[in-house]
């Protein structure tokens, strides 16, 4: 069966990808960001997962408001890099895992999580801006991804508690996959930022630190909050943090946070947190909680 070996929470600011593409590793303005991802990259290099399952949001790129999916699972073998207005990033198309993704669709729907399914569509920076920091292509990608889009753009967006439950359902789907695969769960977005109105540029370092603590130690506190709370504390786009809750929900209660980095250079607080599952244990028992 597929095994979940850990999780990653990460911001997905487009400039993270741009800094990678422009090779800013030793630029003093960007070095603290690259440095913060090094332990994540080293961990993945050591663990060699087969698949990264991404909870992420599209930015009105792949999908438009004529039909904006609340939750949507990608089931393609390959995903082109999306053109977001200035041509696609110079990285290869992302590789999918259609057999696992189809199994996840079957499992989720039979678990009464009636998710939309998509294929043959490009993916934007919500997945690949952080991906190149910890799983860069050389020249091909080190492994495969399964993308799960979450609407955080057009309210009503799914509740924090529902995102947690999606994570639990994805966990059950993965643990029931017959093939022996090592899987890491990724949740992207946040932390505090706001990209509209006179309040644009809002950040809240204190709240960001509290979030990074609670996501590891007491995530149920975060699922009990409402979107209005997230917006008040972390800005309108800080509400993206619900995708970290889906990631955390897919991990076992015994997962430990083993690394985090926080960098707030400009408009968005850029954070990354790495979670590791204990090496052994009865994972299927945890899946029922």
């Amino acid at each position: 069966m597929a095994r979940i070996i850990g999780g990653i929470g990460t911001s997905h600011v487009p400039t993270i990808g741009a800094a990678y593409d422009r090779k800013k590793q030793s630029d003093p303005d960007w070095a603290p960001l690259f440095k913060g991802y090094e332990p994540v990259k080293a961990w993945l290099d050591g663990k060699k997962p087969d698949v990264l399952v991404f909870f992420y949001n599209d930015h009105a790129t792949t999908f438009f408001f004529d039909h904006y999916p609340t939750f949507a699972l990608g089931v393609s073998a390959e995903y082109p890099i999306a053109d977001e207005g200035s041509g696609p990033r110079p990285v290869p198309p992302l590789k999918g895992h259609p057999a696992l993704a189809r199994h996840m669709a079957d499992s989720l729907v039979n678990d009464e999580f009636d998710i939309s399914v998509w294929q043959d569509l490009p993916i934007d920076h919500g997945v690949h801006s952080p991906l190149t920091m910890f799983w860069p292509p050389s020249p091909g990608w080190p492994g495969k991804i399964v993308p799960i889009e979450i609407n955080v753009l057009q309210h009503p967006i799914p509740t924090p508690a529902r995102c947690w439950k999606l994570g639990r359902a994805v966990r059950r789907a993965l643990l029931s996959y017959p093939e022996d695969l090592k899987v890491v769960i990724v949740g992207t977005g946040g932390l505090s930022h706001q990209m509209n109105g006179e309040r644009a540029g809002f950040n809240n370092e204190k709240w960001d630190m509290k979030f990074l603590d609670l996501i590891a130690r007491d995530p149920k506190k975060l699922t009990a909050m409402r979107h209005a709370d997230y917006i008040r504390l972390g800005g309108t786009e800080g509400a993206e943090e619900i995708m970290w809750l889906a990631m955390r929900g897919a991990l076992s209660p015994r997962a430990r946070k083993i690394h985090q980095n926080y960098y707030l250079p400009m408009t968005t607080a850029m954070a990354v947190a790495l979670f590791e599952e204990p090496a052994t244990g009865s994972e299927s028992k945890d899946a029922r909680s």
Binding site: T15, D29, T61, F65, D83, G85, R199, T236, E237, M266
Partner: protein, 119 residues
């Protein structure tokens, strides 16, 4: 009323992109989203008025797009993530758009940031 958003109206300087805004600005957002397609960008760069005609935008929508009036666009109901596409086509960075929302110049906005060079 969405119970998840109760109280959000008290937060000043904040626009919530909800179904009402989405319906009001659908044509405008569709035009902006369309800038992810190269031939639409080519037309918009070569002949902006023809591109605005093709999108059937209102006089108000055209003025805001022509003048890159970011604050007015976002108030009107444009999605920030659709405006980002226009920003990329016009060579305007996100910090510059954020400065526009705040009613500041880019220089004024950068003074409030921890690492002004990180853009």
């Amino acid at each position: 009323m969405n119970p998840q958003l109760k109280g959000v109206e008290k937060i000043e300087g904040t626009h919530i992109f909800n179904l009402e805004a989405s319906a009001k600005a659908l044509r405008l957002n569709r035009f902006l989203h369309g800038l992810t397609i190269p031939h639409n960008r080519t037309l918009f760069k070569a002949n902006p008025e023809a591109a605005l005609d093709k999108a059937d935008l209102s006089a108000q929508e055209r003025r805001m797009v022509r003048e890159l009036d970011w604050a007015a666009l976002i108030r009107y109901g444009a999605s920030f993530f659709c405006l980002e596409k226009l920003g990329r086509v016009k060579g305007v960075s996100n910090p510059e758009m954020v400065a526009g929302f705040r009613g500041e110049s880019l220089e004024e906005f950068l003074k409030t940031r921890n690492v002004p060079g990180a853009r």
